[in-house]
Amino acid sequence: MPDVQTLVNELLFKLKKRKIEGSHATARQTAILLRLVISQQRIPYTHQAAALIDAVKAVGEQLVAANPVELAVGNIVRRVLHIIREEDLSLSTVAMVGLNVSAVSDDEGDTDQDDHPVLSAAAVAAASRNTLRPPSLQTLLEDLPDSAAVPHTSSSGDDSEGKSKSADKSSRSRRLKHDVIEAVNELIEDISTSHEQIAEQAVEHIHQNEVILTLGSSRTVLEFLCAAKEKKRSFRVFVAEGAPRYQGHLLAKELVARGLQTTLIADSAVFAMISRVNMVIVGAHAVMANGGVIAPVGLNMVALAAQRHAVPFVVLAGSHKLCPLYPHNPEVLLNELRSPSELLDFGEFSDCMDFGSGMGSPLLHVVNPTFDYVPPKLVSLFITDTGGHNPSYVYRLIADYYSTDDLVLQRKPAPVN
């Protein structure tokens, strides 16, 4: 346990100090850490899934708080929670087949009240809340596993039947943990291979002699373009430099190194060049539940230019970037304001910021936001590791990856603490 705690602290510290750059690395590290948390977590005989969920949530909450801007952390925490729920569900359905259903339903009520009256009350409340919700496909699907999961975990703690099933229980708890870790491993694998998965689809989207425009630098975009190149597609790339961090310069360098015909343009020249462009392909920081994109600054402008000239605006995003939240949530709309020194040289402008004279208040403000929000109507297509999707379809993807409970529960413990 202690070494897990130090590792958690380490990642927390890194996140806090903004030492991890990019959602890909963040997602990977979060997943690896959560895997460790799960494997180190002692599992009680009862409520195994709940114990795991609590442990993951406790760590996840800290991680999210450490860098609320990096949405990938929250995404991975929710994904892991979802995995636990799914695995528990599949185990319990397997167990359910072997069990006498009627006996279980009898015992259920007593054990719950005896052992954990508070928890059962909460469960009842949650259930009632579920019923109060407007009936949607989501809740209908999610209701089933919930009600199925509760009786089974509790039933395994029953004393009367305990002895005979204890061996089975311990094996089951081990199996749950094992299965969850297995699934998390898959998730980590998915994250690490997301670039390749997306890049595989490149030939379907990039055609001969096309002109592709991109802004800034994204590893996904780089791999995507290179994959098309490897498949003997000849096309040209316009790279907007992506002020003020000018990562487009790096991308241009990389592209040229791989033998792609590249043109570097200023961000402000995007509108002038867009009429010659066949397709805009960009990376994203996060994809929201409504299909909106949080992307490096400047992309909204590119998207608007693309719309004006009816150029397809394609966003590449690994599934770890899919965020189940909506952008009207103020917490999500947090932008990271970085240092003004990326815009101007401190020494050159130091005399503009001499507070000794004048009113004592700075006359020069430099604002350097990191992200733009691109509304879903400007996005033509998302390419994720599972294929191309319409912005209006994003909510379905999210339903595949996340449990609705986790979205809501993420914020619940905060006021309690």
Binding site: T6, N9, E10, F13, K16, K17, R18, K19, A65, L334, L337, R338, S339, P340, S341, E342, D345, F346, G347, E348, S350, D351, M353, D354, F355, G356, S357, G358, M359, G360, S361, P362, H365, V366, N368
Partner: protein
């Protein structure tokens, strides 16, 4: 801590060359100055909050992120407070980052501190030397690498100083951090620091550099727009140097200047300029104000409030650079302006206006108050209708209703300001009496003696709401009404008679009148200077009072021309080249062609005279030869009659004044010049006619040349005759 240290040393000693030595840092948790008094009497400077976080927090955060693994925190004044703070901080629990405190009670300077650290033998390689009031977000890798490479090439490169460009104000001559203007001479190619001068004398405006500096270095750049960041990458030698030179106290004034001027063992200091990152040291109240604003403007990213905020008190950045913690009680009608930071648990009453300020944790601010450009620390109570402008208010201060703080006021811990009381500008108020004698040794002792009692005082800060009132009742009898009815504290008199210093270094912006005053003084100075210096610059012939200068110039010019000419003779320079050289001299001295001719003629005569001769005849022959050889040069400066006359006049002058030997030969030489077509007949005639009205003395040579002149007058007739034939 001790065994751990020993182990670390043992590990790194043996494979010193190969193994990676963990990067170490020495953090001086004491500034060894008195700039922040009276606040620093009760709390060490490094624990003073800078935008609601102790300064040392920024320094440690930077060291950690820059890859430093071992930090030795040197505590001196209020050592216990610093140590207990660190003990409870997050830094003690981090892996790969060890913070070790070194306590000392008798160190009175940075020099002492470094000597003690050397004695402890804890530093094993290059280390970062920084004081606990410095904050930065620079990356050390480049600077470290440069330092190591230099060290490899030249073992005398023992220190790399981090500097940053920052223009000082043209009016006050101080940097934006309130430090005095700094002059540095840096070798532009090697970045070696050659000269370092903290210009303490504002009025002087001059700077003297050892001329050897210019001799020894092929190129040198002199900067006054560079700011010293007080971040140094030092080699081990620095520590031993401090030990060897036990009189070194101040890092810059003694150590750096000592190395540069005394040239000890040829040790060198280099600079590393940072461009896109930020580094600054809180040296005085103005620096405190400026750096706070830089933090709020996010120059120090990621060391900004919303990222650094500790634990539960999450601070959020809102529009217009407004940082608000969670759990603030803010009245609906309160106006919180841009660039303001509000700490956790603070309540703000209705219609209160807060702009450009930092308010700490747990403050209670009444209604209709105005807080502008001020720094209010934790647990301060500001009652209704108070006014704070550009003030610093420390923990636990109580401001009774309608009291006013004028710009530049500093209220130390737990001071109580009475109702309706107006604290005059730039005053410093403390519960402690001002120490009477200000000696650096004494003052530190004083601080130490007090530290224990004050520790307990600050320890009970939590239950503060009752505390000040309690003290207030205790002290009511002692303190009269120095701070109004119900006020507690002493107003420190402005010591050292330097009221001027106060506005320079306070948090308040420099008042407009002061600026106007200084500008006026500067302008006056400039006028004075221009009156002195403009005159020789425009050495017009028209100005009678510059006659002397013009004459001086003529003498210099003559000498220069002579030197050029002699060189030409000795080195067989071609005539064309000599002409070019003399022309350039003529232009630089602003002379006429006639002057050149005179000067050249003068040098020719000198040359002829210098050649060995015993008889008048030989001398004449010498002159003959010289004129033969250089007539082309002379002729090129004789475009017209006037110049020729000038030559004759010059010749006269030479004969009269400098070279008496030539005077008997005057006529012969004149004839020679005539023969060579250097001087025309008309010129000679004009010269004669010019001299007609002159004194007898001036006419000596005319008389001497009488025969020649006579012959000249006849000659044309001969010519005519010849023509006729």
């Amino acid at each position: 801590m001790a065994p751990k240290r020993i182990r670390a040393r043992a590990v790194s000693d043996d494979p010193e060359d190969l193994a990676r030595v963990p990067l170490q840092a020495v953090l001086l948790a004491d500034s060894f100055t008195t700039r922040f008094r009276p606040i620093t009497l009760e709390r060490p400077k490094v624990l003073l909050p800078l935008v609601n976080l102790p300064m040392i927090e920024y320094t440690l955060a930077w060291l950690e992120s820059a890859g430093v693994e071992e930090v030795f925190v040197f505590c001196c004044a209020h050592a216990k407070q610093v140590m207990s703070y660190l003990e409870n901080s997050q830094w003690k629990s981090l892996p790969k980052f060890s913070v070790t405190t070194i306590e000392s009670h008798n160190s009175i300077s940075a020099g002492d501190a470094l000597r003690l650290i050397y004695e402890r033998n804890v530093i094993h390689g290059d280390f970062v030397l920084i004081s606990g009031d410095t904050l930065s977000n620079m990356s050390l890798t480049r600077a470290l690498q440069e330092h190591k490479e230099r060290k490899k090439k030249d073992s005398n490169a023992i220190m790399t100083m981090v500097v940053q460009r920052s223009k000082p104000s043209p009016i006050t001559q101080q940097s934006r951090l309130g430090t005095d203007g700094l002059f540095m001479a840096i070798d532009p190619t090697t970045k070696q620091l050659l000269y370092y001068e903290e210009n303490t004398n504002h009025s002087k405006g001059t700077l003297s550099i050892d001329k050897m500096l210019l001799v020894d270095n092929t190129s040198i750049t002199l900067h006054n727009d560079i700011q010293d960041c007080y971040i140094d990458i030092c080699s081990l030698e620095v520590l031993s140097l401090f030990t060897d030179n036990f009189d070194y106290q101040h890092l810059r004034r003694h150590f750096v200047k000592g190395l540069l001027i005394d040239d000890i063992m040829g040790y060198k200091i280099f600079t590393h300029e940072i461009h896109s990152s930020y580094a600054a040291r809180v040296d005085n109240y103005r620096g405190y104000d400026t750096i706070s604003k830089d933090i709020i403007q996010r120059w120090t990213y990621p060391l900004v409030p919303d990222v650094l905020s500790l634990g539960n008190s999450a601070t959020k950045l809102e529009r217009q650079g407004m940082y608000r913690s969670s759990e603030i009680g803010q009245s609906r009608s309160a106006q919180i302006g841009p660039h303001t930071v509000i700490g956790t648990g603070t309540t703000i009453g209705s219609n209160t206006k807060i702009t450009n300020s930092v308010v700490g944790k747990g403050c209670t601010i009444g209604s209709n108050a105005v807080i502008e450009g001020s720094y209010v620390w934790d647990n301060v109570i500001i009652e209704d209708e108070c006014e704070l402008r550009h003030a610093i208010v420390c923990d636990g201060v109580v401001m009774k209703s309608r009291s006013v703080l004028k710009p530049g006021v500093v209220l130390s811990f737990k001071v109580v300001i009475g109702q309706n009381f107006v604290v005059p500008p730039y005053s410093k108020v403390s519960l402690l009496k001002q120490p009477t004698k200000q000696d650096s040794d004494e003052e530190l002792e004083y601080a130490d003696n007090n530290s224990d009692t004050l520790d307990s005082a600050t320890g009970t800060m939590d239950k503060l709401n009752g505390d000040p009132l309690l003290e207030f009742s205790e002290m009511e009898h002692h303190v009269s009404s120095e701070l109004g009815y119900g006020g507690v504290g002493y107003i420190w008199s402005l010591c050292e008679g330097s009221h001027e210093e106060e506005w320079r270094h306070s948090v308040a912006p420099i008042p407009a009148e002061k600026l106007a005053e200084i500008t006026q003084v500067i302008e006056d100075d400039l006028e004075l200077v221009s009156q002195d210096s403009n005159a020789p610059a425009s050495s017009g012939e028209l100005k009678p009072d510059t006659q002397i200068n013009a004459e001086d110039d003529a003498v210099y010019f003559e000498k220069e021309v002579e030197a050029t000419f002699l060189r030409a003779v000795n080195e067989n320079v071609e005539v064309d080249h000599v002409i070019l050289e003399v022309n350039s001299l003529r232009l630089s001295y602003n002379m006429q062609a006639a002057d050149c001719a005179g000067a050249i003629f003068h040098s020719m005569m000198k040359l002829a005279l210098d050649a060995p001769h015993s008889m008048q005849n030989e001398l004449l022959r010498n002159v003959h030869n010289t004129v033969n050889a250089w007539q082309k040069l002379l002729k090129s400066y004789l475009p017209g009659k006037d110049e020729e006359i000038e030559v004759i006049l010059k010749f006269e002058e030479i004969c009269l004044e400098s070279v008496k030997e030539l005077s008997p030969l005057f006529t012969q030489i004149l004839h020679l010049l005539y023969d060579k077509d250097i001087i025309t007949e008309e010129a000679i005639e004009d010269w004669e006619s010019e001299k007609k009205d002159a004194d007898e003395a001036d006419r000596v040579f005319v008389k001497q040349a009488e025969i020649f002149l006579q012959w000249l007058r006849e000659a044309p007739e001969e010519d005519d005759e010849e023509d006729g034939e």
